[in-house]
Each structure stands twice: as structure tokens, then as C-alpha cells.
Amino acid sequence: MKEAVVLIRSGPYGEASAAEGFRVIMTLPAMGLGTTVVALEDGVFCLVKGGDGTRLGWRESLYKVFAQSSDYEARLLVHKPSLLERGIKEEELVQHDGWLEEDELPSLLRRASVLLAF
């Protein structure tokens, strides 16, 4: 199976990147691609529970949207160093499929035929 990796590098609000990234994430598994989503850098904020995007005019808070990744058969991983650098605790995050350490990132990217960054 062809592997797609989608890097979510942007925070949930202030720009549309993360939300646009999720629009793409929804389509890839349906096309038969093994899809892994990696929240890294400020992208880890997209998974922090409790943010209320509706007060900014968003239809849905993005942490709730990303929590649906498994419903679309996408695997959701969290880059652990990004989490630690930002002082976010594990229990603050929505449910996800695992952690990614810094030394695991290069091999994941090497295996990917499709690499998208948002």
C-alpha cells in the first residue's frame, strides 16, 4: 500500500493551514492510501482539548475535528519533542494513535510516497 504522511505544523487558529490539512486528510484513505498524520511543532496545539473555535466563527473546534482522524482511517501520531517543548501534558490531548520520537521521523518520511505539510 502506498504511504501518505501529512504533517500538521501549524496551530489551530490564526491561519487556515491546519483546517485545510484536515480537508485533505479526509480524502487520502478513501483512495487506498495508508495515511499517517503527524502533529508536530505548533501543530500539537490542534490536539489540545478545550479550545473553542466557534467563538472565532469556526463551525467546529479543531481538536474535535482532529479527534475524528481514526473515523477516516488515518493514523494520528504526536511528535513528542514538540509537545515537551511547548509544555503540554499528555493528558491535555485528544485520543491519538501513538507518539513519534525525533529519531523516528526521518524513516517515516523516507517510506512516504506522498508528503504533504500544512
Partner: protein, 116 residues
């Protein structure tokens, strides 16, 4: 091999579309297939309304890529958000949805994005 690129930024302010056009042009030169998907502000790169003064016309460059056999599509919803209508596009560029993006990605051997 079929190589695909998604461009997420518009023309002139950033170099992503120039990089994509250069890489895909080189791929065609070498006998590969090429695909370009314009997403978010990237849809502006397919406008036929550009009138740069003494500079490259990126819209025309996108059209040339199409004429060389590349598959070029834009996100229709992104275009609607930005007021870019079908009649504004350079010939040969298709408006597409997320399903068509997925198909393009699935048919490419390598696909990557260039963005902000």
C-alpha cells in the same frame, strides 16, 4: 514515473509556484508525467488575468505546462472563496474537488506539497 506537486501559495510573493513549474517542467523533459494541484491561495497561479510588467507571466507558464501534457487542477472551493471564476482561468486547467485531489495523489508515484 508520475510526479505531482501541490502548491499552496500565490504568485510573485513567494517562490513555490516557480519551484513547482521548474521541477515539473524538468520531469516532462525527462519523459516523466507531471501533475500540479493548486490549493488555497495557490489557485491564483492559474488566473489568466495577470498583467505583470516586464516580468514572467506565471499564468502563461501554468498554461504552457498544461500544453506540454501536464495534468493541472485547482481546488474549486478555494477558487470560489477567492472570487476566481472558471472564465478567469488559463485554458486547460480543471476545477476539482477533494475527491479529484485524492485521485491525483493516488495515481502519482511521488506527490508532495510546497507551502508557506
Amino acid at each position: 514515473m508520475k510526479i505531482g506537486i501541490m502548491v499552496r501559495t500565490g504568485p510573485y510573493a513567494q517562490q513555490n509556484i516557480d519551484t513547482a513549474l521548474s521541477l515539473l517542467g524538468a520531469a516532462l523533459d525527462m519523459g516523466h508525467q507531471a501533475a500540479l494541484f493548486l490549493f488555497e491561495d495557490g489557485v491564483i497561479n492559474a488566473s489568466g488575468l495577470m498583467k505583470p510588467t516586464g516580468d514572467r507571466n506565471i499564468g502563461h507558464q501554468v498554461q504552457e505546462l498544461v500544453s506540454r501534457g501536464a495534468e493541472v487542477a485547482i481546488c474549486g472551493q478555494c477558487a470560489n472563496y477567492r472570487g476566481l471564476q472558471k472564465e478567469h482561468l488559463v485554458p486547460g486547467v480543471k476545477r476539482a474537488g477533494m475527491g479529484q485531489l485524492g485521485q491525483m495523489v493516488a495515481t502519482c508515484d511521488r506527490f508532495f506539497s510546497l507551502g508557506p
